[in-house]
């Protein structure tokens, strides 16, 4: 059983590396699909390991939102803005991968210092993977130019925090969990419309060129 949880953890790490190393928007969205589904599967696997059955519908719901609905919104925005690749990110994709590997090492070290008393989930990997995912999200936000890639970074960051929550407190009350997903959905929706408006106003979505407000 715990092997399947570990397989999921490895899948999430690999999607993070794909997000860091890819410059094609289509590739980024595909990585988001896999990551969202893997995160949704975590509670389901844990249920098989004997955690409360309530985790299953939550996991399926979160997986559907993160793995299907979010990427769909992203794809729609992509089509409307006609952007296909992240050209010249501030940190090149190769360098991003190297930084990502270092960050993974740090995340594993931090995770090893974390007390797992009373934790619901059957793998030691989950805390480091959650921290790594949150870091990758933040890194994408600061190192990429396109508004849409930054929005993806925000979603990856959210994924990391969600996983952290799953690891730390097991199940949150339904209403809280629902509220969190709803907020993330609305945030993405707003970011999508904003990207579209930025594109219409400026004819590009390079956020580093939005620099008139200073001081």
């Amino acid at each position: 059983m715990s092997t399947s949880a570990e397989l999921l953890a490895v899948a999430i790490v690999l999607t993070n590396l794909a997000l860091l190393g890819s410059s094609r928007m289509g590739g980024l969205v595909r990585a988001m699909v896999v990551q969202g589904l893997a995160i949704g599967a975590f509670p389901v696997v844990a249920w098989a390991a004997g955690v409360s059955a309530w985790a299953v519908p939550f996991g399926l719901f979160a997986g559907a939102i993160k793995g299907l609905v979010f990427p769909w919104v992203l794809m729609r925005t992509l089509r409307r803005t006609g952007v296909s690749r992240e050209v010249e990110p501030f940190v090149s994709c190769g360098m991003s991968l190297v930084i990502g590997l270092v960050a993974f090492g740090v995340a594993v070290w931090m995770g090893s210092r974390f007390s797992l008393d009373g934790m619901a989930y059957p793998t030691r990997l989950i805390v480091p993977v959650a921290l790594f995912t949150a870091f990758v999200g933040l890194f994408l936000i600061v190192s990429r130019r396109k508004a849409l890639t930054q929005a993806m970074g925000y979603l990856v960051f959210e994924n990391g925090i969600y996983l952290f929550g799953v690891a730390l407190v097991g199940e949150l009350p339904f209403l809280v969990e629902f509220g969190i997903l709803l907020d993330a959905y609305v945030a993405l929706f707003v970011m999508g419309i904003a990207t579209y408006q930025i594109n219409r106003e400026f004819h590009h979505i390079d956020t580093d060129r939005l620099s008139r407000l200073k001081g």
């Binding site: 209403l175 809280v176 709803l182 707003v190 400026f202 939005l210 407000l213």
Partner: protein, 493 residues
């Protein structure tokens, strides 16, 4: 009296109004609906606050909703800010209506988001569940983003994107903090449905795992601090405040920042309790408060745009509130008093700056000169608001700042006092220069003449008189309310 239905109604009214305002046919009708919503919420809030003062906290929805002295006080401040900003919106958008940029579509968008933002802020104040508290704060972020670029321009989009991204990430960090605080309660083996309840965590604060609770507070301080505009996480704030329409800036500064700080007020007794009241969390609050005051003071000295000036002043004042909370005791009392004073003075200043900006066509400080002569009502509002904000006696902010200084003396922290006074002094000198120039300076070109009606006069005179009265005399009910609210933050110490 059972107040549970009151809380449910308080939460439901704004969201119903948000949906309803999408169906209203005329732009003026939208504003009328928003104002009626404010009146309804004000009535309910007044009734609820009165019940709390008489009979203690009200609970509803299986203890997920509650109202105690602290949230009741903040709720009343919110109601005042919301009502005055909505009334002001009538005047502000009337001019835009003539310029045909206030269309039915824009009005409906404004209505839905404005009432929705009110609902999210009410949800923050009523929530006993720390998860829902977080959901409410994040909801204010996503709902207010489009209020900043109500009129889509390149700079308003830039400000909105910055706001959305910085605050979403900041508030995400606050969620990690929330989770860590929940983790610190794992040793208690509480019922999972109750783990996140503030009342439960407060009652068991001394049994929480201190190391995890501390780690959680760090994340919470940075996360909610970002949303509250504390330096150095404030970079979104001047952009958003300067680009948003004036009623939105007023609501942002007047209450949205307070709402984020309110979350920290809730966590303070929990984390201090977990650390055995060692003052660790309070020390952090003092540091962040002082840094905010000093950073804001440095930026205020070099401003060219009056709305950016007011935005930095918000960083300063939220810093003062944070400092007061960190000092504890009398400081907590002063901090709560200061939130109301700042909200009143800052909404007045933003109202005036917005109207003056409309008739001058810009918010440049160098253009807005001699406003007292050309615009007697709003010129006086801006001068009065700025004087109150920089702490001129006998306006009420002077009194609350004096109380914060006294709290610093009582705790014996000389350096805190010195830095605090240095920051206030720099702001005083820097902003007074602008205030005098804008009031009496010589204008280079004639602006559009002022067209004011009774509503404009009321919106200027009422806050100014209130600030004067509160500066000279504190009514007994207000003092009692402040004391009770401070007791909630002070914990059982």
């Amino acid at each position: 009296m059972d107040g549970a239905p009151l809380l449910i109604a308080l939460l439901a009214v704004p969201f119903v109004a948000a949906v309803a305002s999408l169906l209203v046919p005329s732009p003026r009708g939208v504003l009328a609906l928003l104002f009626a919503t404010g009146l309804a919420v004000a009535g309910l809030a007044g009734l609820a606050a009165w019940t709390v003062a008489d009979h203690g906290p009200i609970f509803a929805a299986g203890s997920w909703l509650f109202l105690d002295a602290l949230s009741a006080y903040n709720l009343l401040v919110l109601v005042v800010v919301y009502l005055s900003s909505t009334a002001y919106a009538f005047r502000y958008f009337a001019d835009e209506h003539e310029a045909e940029s206030w269309t039915r579509r824009v009005a409906r968008q404004f209505g839905g988001l404005w009432a929705g933002a009110l609902g999210a802020m009410v949800a923050v104040l009523l929530s006993n569940n720390l998860g829902i508290l977080w959901v409410g704060i994040e909801a204010t972020t996503v709902l207010t983003a489009f209020l900043i670029c109500l009129h889509v321009t390149s700079v308003s989009l830039e400000a909105m994107w910055k706001y959305l991204l910085i605050c979403s990430v900041g508030v995400g960090l606050a969620f990690m903090g929330t989770l860590l605080v929940a983790k610190s309660a794992v040793p208690l083996a509480l019922d999972p449905a109750k783990t996140l309840l503030w009342t439960t965590l407060r009652d068991h604060a001394d049994q929480l795992d201190p190391a995890t609770a501390r780690a959680g507070f760090l994340f919470l301080l940075v996360g909610y601090g970002t949303k509250a505009g504390l330096a150095p996480m404030h970079s979104w704030l001047p952009d958003a405040h300067s680009q948003a329409p004036a009623p939105v800036s007023a609501l942002f500064s007047g209450f949205m920042l307070n709402a984020a700080l309110y979350c920290l007020m809730r966590y303070l007794p929990i984390v201090e309790g977990a650390c055995g009241h060692s003052g660790w969390a309070q020390g952090l609050m003092v540091t962040f408060g002082l840094v905010s005051i000093l950073v804001a003071a440095a930026f205020i000295l070099f401003q060219q745009d009056v709305k950016r000036l007011l935005a930095y002043s918000s960083v300063e004042h939220l810093g003062i509130v944070t400092l007061g909370l960190g000092l504890g005791g009398l400081g907590t009392f002063a901090a709560l008093f200061h939130t109301a004073n700042h909200s009143l003075a800052k909404t007045l200043a933003f109202f005036s700056a917005g109207r003056l900006g409309q008739s001058h066509g810009t918010h440049e400080i160098s253009v807005l000169r001699g406003t007292l002569r050309s615009h007697p009502v709003w010129g006086a509002g801006l001068l009065g608001g700025l004087l109150a904000l920089i702490g001129v006696a006998p306006f009420a902010p002077f009194m609350s700042e004096l109380l914060v200084a006294r709290a610093a003396v009582q705790t014996g922290s000389t350096w805190t006092l010195v830095l605090f006074l240095a920051g206030l002094g720099a702001v005083f000198v820097g902003a007074l220069r602008y205030a005098l120039g804008m009031a009496w300076g010589r204008a280079e070109r004639e602006p559009l003449p002022e067209r004011h009606n009774a509503l404009d006069v009321v919106l200027v005179v009422v806050p100014l008189v209130t600030l004067l009265i509160l500066g000279l005399w504190m009514p007994a009910p207000l003092e009692a309310a402040l004391n009770q609210a401070a007791l909630v933050i002070g914990g059982t110490r």
